[in-house]
């Protein structure tokens, strides 16, 4: 797989993941901080706020990756590590099976994005390719 394909796939996955995170958090936020914090089957209000911010930044960063911009790759890497760390507790502590599965899926996707962004293409180039 070529480098640009890696980046395109990583950008698509990161964009979808960030958008999904932001939308889910935005849907829950109108319930208010008190109700969310007192609910046993929802993440804390602060976590939702962080997810919105990370989600929106993630969409912009994914666009940066798609445009093969260095800043986009660096920001996406950081956000995906944060995503992995946020998703991890959701696997054992998720209130419903759906939450657990979606957390596991988010973790896998974020890890995949990190791998795609860091995968190095070190295929030896021939002299003819280099001088072409």
């Amino acid at each position: 797989m070529s480098r640009s394909r890696n980046y395109t796939l990583a950008a698509a996955l990161a964009g979808l993941l960030s958008l999904a995170n932001a939308i889910v958090a935005l849907v829950l936020l109108p319930q208010g901080a008190d109700k969310i914090n007192h609910s046993s089957n929802q993440p804390p209000y602060a976590v939702l706020l962080i997810e919105v911010v990370i989600g929106l930044i993630g969409v912009v960063a994914a666009y940066g990756v798609f445009r093969t911009q260095r800043w986009g790759v660096i920001v996406t890497l950081v956000l995906m590590v944060v995503n992995v760390l946020i998703s991890l507790p959701g696997i054992p502590f998720g209130p419903t099976a759906f939450d657990k599965i979606s957390s596991a899926l988010a973790l896998v996707l974020a890890a995949l994005v990190i791998y795609l962004l860091l995968r190095r293409d070190t295929r030896i180039k021939s002299k003819a390719e280099l001088s072409a």
């Binding site: 790759v73 590590v81 760390l85 991890l88």
Partner: protein, 417 residues
């Protein structure tokens, strides 16, 4: 980091600050992702051990396994991350236009007219851009620019510097870390920079060749002037002075000894004939008069070798008007080739074909003799043929094809200009 002339290091230079920032960014990213990796591995092992809201009891061996897993994978993961993050932070993104623009600025800022040779500043710029420890620009066998010390523990990337299919040199770059290689992203950038460097190398070579060609022209002109001066001063001058003295003596003897005067006048006549021959030879050296009198084709047909047993045929019968310089060069080249054919080939026929194209003239002189020895050892004659063609930006090929063939290509544009 920039080293100042007094040996101190300028830590506040923009380049140094940028380089240090990039290093810090790379280190921070590696550390952050490594910590994330460790936390994820630890968390996954605990989850596998049955961590849940209902069961917060974790077996001691789960912690041991998690720590062992992290310890076992930390170094390879760190190595992989370091290479990959270096590639992201220092590697080539996009079309490389920024790096090429920097290279062009560097060339603009350091190249006076005529352009000086490549130096280490270009290698330094490449080393800075890619954050690599060693860059060498090799031109032919010489190192035109080197930055850093060649590391023994890594294989150098070799980027050929080619322009119009000609290999002009090589760009050698060491990878950032031991026992690793540069990524294709880096190689792509090096390839693009290499193309620019090759163009610069070509321009420098062309400039040097132009310079030496100009010097050769000036030398040739001065040599020609010296020869004419010598001929006039040492040949014509004394002859005319001697004739003047003889005429003075004739004037004195005319009444006293008419026989002696007549004899002296006869000597003066002989001297004048010799001087006329000398002047002809001098004029012939400047431009063969046959060219003006008969034209190129007829002048070649009347070549002295044609009267010495060699049958010289020239095609075509008519030629379009050629620049004087081309005409003289073709005449002298053909004369030399015909002379060589008559002297060395042992053949009976010599055929001269002149083909005038839009931008160049192609002249082929072919004899039916025994051909030239392989490999060809060029003597003064062939060297002189090459020099005459090269003066007009042309080229000469000498090869065997049922005898010896001398093919000359002379561009018309350069001769006109």
């Amino acid at each position: 980091m920039i080293v100042l002339p007094d040996g101190r290091r300028d830590r506040h230079n923009v380049r140094s600050v940028r380089a240090r920032s990039a290093r810090w960014l790379a280190a921070a990213l590696v550390g952050f992702i490594l910590v994330g990796w460790a936390a994820t591995v630890y968390g996954l092992v605990l989850i596998a051990d049955g961590l849940s809201p209902a069961n917060d009891h974790i077996d001691w061996w789960a912690h041991v396994i998690a720590v062992a897993l992290i310890a076992a994978t930390a170094v390879p993961v760190w190595r992989w991350l370091r290479l990959s993050i270096d590639d992201v932070v220092y590697g080539h993104f996009g079309d490389g236009s920024a790096a090429i623009t920097r290279l062009n600025h560097q060339i603009d800022n350091r190249a006076p007219s005529p352009p000086a040779g490549l130096d280490s500043s270009l290698a330094a710029m490449i080393a800075r851009t890619l954050n690599v420890p060693y860059v060498a620009i090799v031109e032919g066998e010489t190192e035109a620019g080197v930055v850093g010390t060649r590391p023994s523990d890594r294989d150098l990337a070799d980027v050929p510097l080619t322009y119009q299919g000609n290999e002009l040199g090589h760009l050698f770059v060491a990878p950032r870390h031991p026992r690793t290689s540069l990524s294709n992203r880096d190689l792509n950038l090096l390839s693009e920079l290499g193309q620019q460097l090759a163009i610069v190398m070509f321009a420098i070579r062309a400039s040097e060749q132009l310079q030496s060609s100009r010097a050769a022209l000036v030398t040739a002109r001065e040599e020609e002037r010296r020869r004419i001066r010598r001929d006039l001063h040492d040949g014509l001058g004394p002859s005319l002075a001697s004739m003047k003295l003889q005429l003075t003596a004739v004037d004195r003897l005319l009444m006293v000894d008419p026989h002696r005067a007549a004899s002296l006048l006869s000597e003066v006549r002989d001297g004048m004939n010799k001087t006329t021959t000398d002047i002809r030879r001098l004029v012939y050296g400047l431009r063969p008069p046959l060219l003006d009198e008969l034209g190129l084709v007829a002048a070649l047909r009347n070549h002295p070798s044609a009267q010495a047993g060699l049958t010289v045929t020239v095609e075509p019968d008519e030629l379009p008007e050629l620049p004087a310089a081309v005409e003289v060069a073709l005449y002298r080249i053909a004369s030399e080739a015909i002379h060589n054919a008559a002297r060395h080939s042992g053949g009976q026929q010599c055929r001269v074909t002149i083909e005038v194209r839009a931008e160049q003239v192609c002249m082929t002189v072919r004899d039916d003799g025994r051909g030239c020895p392989e490999p060809l050892i060029e003597g003064v004659g062939v060297a002189s043929i090459r020099e005459r063609a090269a003066e007009l930006g042309g080229a000469v090929e000498v090869f065997n094809a049922t005898g010896t063939t001398v093919r000359t290509l002379v561009p018309l544009e350069s001769a006109k200009s």
